[in-house]
């Protein structure tokens, strides 16, 4: 009885470890699709216009976004940090904004860049 019980207990523990491990690995290894949108954002109250001179620099190669653009960004892992660089066309001064997105196990995200830059609490678009 003792041996059998111990063996089954061990098996259950191993199974739990395997499941937990699988969970962790999925978290670490999941690829997420993030769609960044540079159109007008009309969220809770404020209306933010699309940005000029916008570049996403956290990618392997910086991507430029014109007003109205939408790009697809792929990210791996539980969370990712997006860095936006906005160059004002008149003053040629640029500022950078970082945004950390906690992705967890969700696979698709739809974000509005003006909202992020504008400091909105909820930059997520419905669709």
């Amino acid at each position: 009885m003792n041996v059998k019980l111990r063996r089954n207990l061990l098996r259950i523990v191993l199974c739990l470890i395997a499941v937990a491990g699988g969970f962790l690995l999925s978290l670490v290894g999941m690829y997420h699709s993030i769609i960044l949108d540079n159109s007008e954002f009309s969220g809770a109250g404020a209306v933010l216009s699309p940005l000029e001179g916008l570049r996403v620099v956290s990618e392997t190669e910086p991507v430029e976004m014109s007003p109205g653009d939408r790009i697809l960004v792929s990210a791996k892992g539980p969370s990712t940090t997006l860095v936006f660089e906005i160059t004002s066309p008149e003053s040629q001064q640029s500022r950078q904004i970082s945004y950390t997105l906690r992705m967890g196990l969700k696979k698709q995200f739809f974000l509005s860049v003006p909202a992020i830059v504008g400091g909105e609490k909820n930059p997520f678009l419905a669709e």
């Binding site: 395997a18 491990g21 699988g22 690995l25 999925s26 670490v28 290894g29 999941m30 690829y31 997420h32 791996k76 696979k107």
Partner: protein
């Protein structure tokens, strides 16, 4: 009296690989392919397929012949990969999760296969061959009808146009060559996937270690003589089932390694050829249904794939028809198994006759 080590004895016992080496020596120059290219191809294929062929070694130890049921392990690995792709995983974690998913499936399928093989003692090879086909039907049922309907698949890209059932082939952009590239060394302009070979080495060590354990010794005893093993108190049936389960597990991981190297899953075709080609490779390496060593695995994979790569070009240059070369390659693949089995059968009869002669001489 110990038989003296003779050249003749060495030639006969290694007949099959020698024959194919000679064949290769003839066909390689004829194909016109360059040595560096061939070398690179062979290294790549060794990394890809060795683990699959390795899975065949344990059942031979247990006296169960060549385990065509390894395709069940390959199926389990593939199901794991399909699920992992559906969940959007990539990189090394994807492979590990696929392995985690495939493990219980492999154990279940391995148990099923082993159980049936115990019912068909003396005919294990044909039976495992048919089990492979039978399971293929179940696998198709699962992937073609259940997935997407009863089993939810979240990624619509994986499904057929009718709405359920997995597509015939899918690319694995985030998984392709993940294990291979993780630790790779460049030698003479070729990338050598060190980590993959390390993983293979780990499994080789496992097999070597396993043979030294009590269970391993039990297995060898069962393989030599079931009745004697039974008399010694070894649980023959359970040991045989264990051998098949281990084989199925290794085949599952082997298929995952193979798929990450290829970067594409052929959902309904990949595993069918796996059994035929792995067994052919093992036989070319000099193994028989009663004796298979790790050396047989690597020599076999090397020679068999050499033949496989070289045959179409050689056929084309020799006869001038590429299509013919393709059929020639199929002919060689099947012919290898037929010839190996025949040669081995001939050898067995030869030995039996010699032994009988010696016995008769001894009596006089």
């Amino acid at each position: 009296m110990k038989p003296k080590y003779s050249l003749k004895g060495a030639l006969i016992s290694n007949l099959v690989p020698i024959v194919f080496l000679m064949f290769a020596a003839f066909a390689v120059p004829m194909s016109g392919l360059s040595i560096p290219y061939l070398l690179h191809e062979m290294i790549s294929r060794l990394a890809r397929d060795s683990l699959l062929v390795l899975s065949l070694v344990i059942p031979v130890l247990a006296g169960m012949g060549l385990n065509f049921g390894m395709v069940l392990g390959a199926m389990a690995g593939q199901i794991g990969m399909v699920l992992v792709v559906d969940w959007g995983l990539g990189g090394m974690p994807a492979l590990l999760v696929a392995a985690l998913l495939g493990t219980p499936i492999s154990i279940g399928l391995g148990y099923f296969c082993g159980y049936i093989l115990n019912l068909a003692k003396g005919r294990e090879m044909v039976t495992s061959y048919i089990i492979g086909f039978f399971m293929n039907g179940a696998y198709q049922f699962l992937l073609l009808y259940c997935m997407g309907s009863i089993i939810p698949i979240t990624n619509p890209e994986l499904l057929l146009s009718r709405g359920y059932g997995i597509r015939n082939s899918m690319d694995l952009p985030n998984i392709r060559q993940v294990l291979d590239r993780l630790v790779s060394v460049e030698v003479f302009g070729m990338d050598i996937p060190i980590l993959t070979f390390a993983v293979i080495a780990v499994f080789c060590l496992f097999i070597v270690w396993f043979k030294t354990t009590k269970i391993g010794q039990d297995m060898r005893a069962v393989g030599r003589n079931r009745a004697v093993a039974n008399g010694a108190g070894i649980p023959v049936e359970k040991t045989r089932i264990l051998a098949i389960i281990i084989s199925t597990l290794i085949a599952c991981y082997g298929q995952i390694v193979s798929l990450q190297n290829l970067g594409t899953i052929n959902t309904y075709n990949s595993h069918e050829q796996v059994g035929i080609f792995s067994i052919a490779a093992l036989l070319v390496g000099g193994a028989t249904a009663e004796n298979a060593s790790i050396a047989n695995v690597f020599v076999g994979v090397f020679l068999f794939h050499l033949m496989f790569v070289v045959s179409p070009m050689a056929g084309k240059n020799l006869i001038g028809d590429a299509q013919l070369g393709e059929y020639f390659r199929v002919f060689v693949s099947y012919g290898i198994i037929a010839v190996s089995l025949l040669l081995h059968a001939w050898k067995k009869r030869h030995e039996m006759l010699e032994r009988r002669l010696l016995e008769n001489e001894g009596k006089e």
